[in-house]
Amino acid sequence: MLKEWPLVAFTVAGQTALGLFLVAGLPLFFSRGGAADAPARGSRLAVLLAALGLMAAASFVSFFHLHHPFRAVRVLANVRTSWLSREVLFELGFMALLAVLAFLLWTGTGGEGLHRGLFAAAGASGVLFVWSMSKLYMLKAVPAWDHAYTPVSFFLTAVLLGALTAAAFSGAFRPGGSSALKPLLAACLVLVAAAFLWALLTAPVHGIFGARPPASLTPPGGASSALYAARLIVLVLGSLALAAAIWRESSAPALGAKAGLAAPVGLAWVLVLIGEVLGRFHFYGQVGRP
């Protein structure tokens, strides 16, 4: 299970990149006012570069799970039937569109229509990237992965970590605060609750609460109930940190954004990230390798 760390890092970072791009980028690109002013363009650029950086890191670390990484140039050879090829195709498309959009914003070229069109295309490519990532694990040979648990968990991780990363950036780097921060924090809290409930709902499929997977020739994985429980505990702690941030923001808005929010939001981000990483290790631990 621990040997799958490159896949854990790749999937969590890639999903966070998509979530950050959508949650932070949508209001910036499609709200009224456009990109006429320099601060808005700077914010757009920051979101794009952060998402691109995360995708680049995810792509780099994914090579560590290959035993012949230099042969990976052929990885698009089987787009017709392989979800792994499709995942890489949409991953490259997402990254390329992010890079083109960032370049246009950096150089100040292209109109608002083009920027929005590229944003929509990048978003579609990113969603297809995470969808392909989900489908490649939905194998008939692996009943623990072959149901809604996989795509729902992956997209939940994307939106949750994307929103929290956006909130953490907002809390840490905007001394004046952001009017959107409170609803964003509230949304994060709801998403953490959703992740918690989803883990509870799907527990029986994954051998928790005494349930056993059907007999097969696939060896059992090394996922432990302790890992599952640790994830739930960390998510609860993360939601408490989020609640503290919302309370601070509500009770002292003037002071909140300056110094009071960075710590609880940052702590929530770290805790939820740890929770999602533990959850992903548990995911890969469902299935053993022969």
Binding site: Y137, L139, A215, P290
Partner: protein, 205 residues
């Protein structure tokens, strides 16, 4: 002309001696931990109350399994670099010069036929001893079985000879991949699922 090579396995005859497993390792020079053919020990049951009497309901039989050179090999469909391909006579091969070692096919195959091979840093699997078969000889596992529990040949011929059973517990649903496999069941196999029988020798296979 053979259109689809296949294995026959007689679970009723298999004693679990693992001569097939060892013959395969020997012929293909497979190191420790790499098995192209495995013998799964399936066990379950215990005691069952019938009226006022407790009677044993033990399940115990063996399943010798290699690559089934499926009619629809999901390993090949999953492989991103097309390193897994099927010959005209149905034998499925791994091209170790193309394989990137992502090991995705290991998860995709419900028979766990694909095995990581440390010597080449790629996946590997049963190649049906194609050079022996091409020379008119049997695969090593078939030749080694002292109880004639294994046989090979064209799938259509094997079906004529032995029937068309392709599934016993705990093998996967054959509709997933269309395995080129014909089975004769052990008498315990019919009740194995209801009695919770499972593979007992995971450390070995």
């Amino acid at each position: 002309m053979v259109t689809q090579y296949a294995f026959f396995f007689d679970a009723a005859a298999c004693s679990g001696c693992k001569a097939c497993q060892v013959a395969c390792k020997d012929r293909n020079d497979l190191g420790p931990g790499t098995l192209w053919r495995r013998v799964y020990e399936v066990t379950g049951g215990g005691w069952e109350k019938k009226g006022q009497v407790w009677v044993p309901s033990v399940i115990a039989y063996n399943v010798s399994m290699a690559c089934n050179h499926c009619e629809n090999p999901v390993c090949g469909a999953a492989c991103p670099v097309k390193a897994i391909w099927k010959r005209e006579d149905g034998i499925v091969f791994v091209d170790t010069d193309l394989c990137i070692g992502c090991r995705y096919c290991e998860w995709a195959c419900p028979y766990t036929a694909l095995r990581f091979h440390a010597a080449t840093n790629t996946v590997s699997k049963c190649d049906f001893c194609y050079d022996a078969v091409d020379a008119g000889k049997p695969p090593a596992c078939v030749a080694a079985c002292p109880r004639r529990a294994l046989d090979f040949g064209d799938l259509a011929d094997l079906r004529k000879k032995y029937g068309d059973l392709r599934h016993i517990h705990p093998l996967p649903d054959p509709e997933q991949t269309g395995p080129a496999l014909v089975l004769r069941p052990h008498r315990d196999a019919a009740r194995a699922a209801e009695r919770g029988a499972e593979v007992a020798n995971w450390e070995e296979v």
